[in-house]
C-alpha cells in the first residue's frame, strides 16, 4: 500500500496528474470508500486492502470532464470496465493515468457470519492471510479468506490488466469455480422452479437503483427507467411483474457490454444474485455468436451490434437448443 501512496504522491507533485482516484480509509477496515485525493497531504487517508472491491472505472466518466489528468487505481477486473468505457467513448484515455494495482481477491463483510464486527486481521494487501481473524463485540472468530470473497472473485477473470500505464503489486488468480455453473443449474430447472426461484429473489428488490447506478456499463445520461414518458413506474415496488421487467431490461441494455465485473451483486442491499441475468446473456452470446469477453479489446465488434447471415433463429429457444448446448 505504501508503494501506491509513494507513487501517487510523486505523480501529484510532479504535476503529471491533478488528482488521484482511489480508496479512502473508513471507520473500520471493511468500509473504505472511493475517493478523489487532490493533494499529497490528503493521501494520508488512502487505503488499499482486501475490502477495496469498488470498481473505480465508472468514476472516471466524471473525471474525464475535469481539467487535467486523473490517476486511477484499477484492479485487473476493473480494467475490463475501463476498456469497455473507452470503446463507448465515455472516458478519455488521454486524461487517465492508470496504475494497474494487484489483487488477491476482494472480500465482502456480508459474507462473514458474525455479529458486531470491530476489526479484521489478515485482509491487508499485499500481505493477506489464508484465514481472517475477526474481532467482534462478542469475541473472536475466524473465517477463511476464500469464504469471505465476493462472488466475482470465485470466477476471477485472471491476473492480467487490460489497460494500464504501469503496474504495482502482484495479483492472484482466485478462480475456483465454473463461471457458468449457477446459470446452468437454473437452466436445468423446470419452468415452475425457475419462476419460483426468480420470484423469491426479485420480490426482495426495493428498486433502490444501486445496481444500475454502480454499473460501469449503465452510463446513459438519462436512463429509460427515469423517463416520465413511461408509466413503468420507476420507483414502485410491487411484487408483480414490474421488478422482473426492470431487471431483464437492465441486463439486456448491458448485454454484450457487461464485463461481468459483479458490482451489481456486490451492492445489492437485498443480496439478489443480479449477476445471473448478465451471465445468462454472456453464456448465450458465447454459445450462439462465439466467445466474447467485453472489455478485452476496444476495437472488437460487439455481439449485439453485429450479425452473420447464418445466425440461429429465435426458435432455437423453444426447441431447447440453447440450454442443452
Amino acid at each position: 500500500m505504501q508503494e501506491l501512496i509513494t507513487r501517487a504522491k510523486a505523480l501529484l507533485e510532479s504535476g503529471e496528474v491533478q488528482r488521484v482516484l482511489g480508496w479512502k480509509q473508513g471507520e473500520h477496515i471493511y468500509d473504505p470508500e472511493p475517493a478523489f485525493f487532490d493533494s499529497a497531504e490528503a493521501l494520508k487517508d488512502f487505503v488499499y486492502n482486501g475490502f477495496c472491491g469498488a470498481n473505480l472505472s465508472k468514476y472516471m466518466i466524471e473525471a474525464a470532464k475535469l481539467e487535467g489528468k486523473t490517476l486511477v487505481f484499477l484492479k485487473p477486473c476493473d480494467s475490463y470496465s475501463f476498456v469497455q468505457l473507452m470503446k463507448e467513448h465515455r472516458v478519455d484515455r488521454e486524461k487517465a493515468h492508470i496504475i494497474g494495482v494487484g489483487c488477491k481477491g476482494k472480500l465482502s463483510v456480508n459474507k462473514i457470519d458474525a455479529d458486531g464486527i470491530l476489526d479484521i486481521q489478515g485482509a491487508g494487501y499485499p500481505d493477506c492471510a489464508d484465514t481472517l481473524t475477526v474481532d467482534t463485540l462478542y469475541g473472536q472468530t475466524t473465517v477463511s479468506y476464500k469464504d469471505a470473497m465476493l462472488e466475482r472473485c470465485h470466477v476471477c477473470k485472471g491476473k492480467e490488466h487490460m489497460v494500464c500505464d504501469e503496474q504495482i503489486g502482484e495479483s492472484a488468480d482466485t478462480a475456483d469455480s465454473d463461471r457458468f455453473a449457477q446459470v446452468a443449474a437454473i437452466e436445468a430447472m423446470s419452468p415452475e422452479e425457475k419462476f419460483a426461484f426468480f420470484q423469491s429473489e426479485l420480490s426482495k428488490c426495493i428498486r433502490c437503483n444501486a445496481c444500475r447506478n454502480v454499473c460501469p456499463a449503465c452510463s446513459c445520461r438519462k436512463c429509460v427507467f427515469d423517463s416520465t414518458k413511461f408509466d413503468s413506474t420507476q420507483k414502485a415496488n410491487t411484487t408483480s411483474f414490474e421488478e422482473k421487467m426492470f431487471h431483464i431490461i437492465r441486463a439486456f441494455h448491458v448485454a454484450g457490454r457487461c464485463t461481468d465485473c459483479g458490482e451489481c451483486s456486490r451492492v445489492c442491499p437485498q443480496g439478489i444474485p443480479l449477476h445471473l441475468f448478465n451471465r445468462k446473456f454472456i453464456k448465450d452470446i458465447n454459445s450462439l455468436y462465439g466467445e466474447y469477453q467485453a472489455g478485452v479489446d476496444a476495437q472488437a465488434k460487439a455481439p449485439l451490434t453485429s450479425f452473420t447471415q447464418e445466425d440461429a433463429e429465435p426458435s432455437i429457444v423453444a426447441e431447447g437448443g440453447l440450454t442443452h448446448a
Partner: protein
C-alpha cells in the same frame, strides 16, 4: 396451472408486431385474399422488425397480452438491408432470458413473412393462437394491477 382447462372459453390477447414493408403487407394480402386468422390478434405496425425494443414485448405482456409475435422481412430482404438481422439476435437473447426466468417459451415467437405470403401470415397466426390457447392465460408476466 400453466394449461388452461377451458380452452374453448379462453380468448387470448395476442400482440403481433409487424414490419411495415413485408409482414404488414402480408397481413393485408391475407385480408384481401379472404384468408382468416383469429380476431384475437392485434397487429401493431412498426417500421422494421428492428424497431422492436425488448421493452415493447415485455410491456405487451405486462399490460395483459398472452402471447407476443414479431413478424419481419425474411433475412436478406430487409427494406433497410440489415435491420432484421439485428432483431434476430436481440429476440433470440430476449426469448432465452424469458425462458431462463421460467416463462413458458411458446408465448413468444418470431416469424419472417414477406409481402407475398398472405397464406403464411394466416397460417402463422392460426398456429400461434392455437399454441397460446394451449398454454392458457399469461399469469407470469402480467402486472397484477391490470388484472381487474
Amino acid at each position: 396451472m400453466p394449461v388452461n382447462q377451458n380452452n374453448e372459453e379462453f380468448r387470448p390477447v395476442i400482440v403481433a408486431f409487424c414490419c411495415n414493408w413485408c409482414s404488414y403487407a402480408g397481413a393485408d394480402l391475407a385480408g384481401s385474399s379472404r384468408l382468416s386468422y383469429p380476431a384475437d390478434v392485434k397487429i401493431i405496425r412498426v417500421p422494421c422488425s428492428c424497431r422492436v425494443n425488448p421493452m415493447f414485448i415485455l410491456r405487451a405482456f405486462e399490460k395483459g397480452a398472452d402471447g407476443v409475435i414479431l413478424c419481419g422481412c425474411h433475412p436478406g430482404d430487409c427494406h433497410y438491408s440489415t435491420g432484421n438481422y439485428y432483431a434476430r439476435r436481440r429476440m433470440t437473447l430476449l426469448f432465452s432470458m424469458l425462458d431462463f426466468i421460467g416463462v413458458e417459451n411458446g408465448r413468444t415467437r418470431v416469424e419472417w413473412v414477406s409481402a407475398a405470403e398472405g397464406v403464411k401470415f394466416s397460417e402463422t397466426m392460426n398456429s400461434f393462437v392455437a399454441k397460446i390457447r394451449s398454454l392458457g392465460k399469461n399469469v407470469r408476466l402480467g402486472d397484477l394491477r391490470c388484472k381487474n
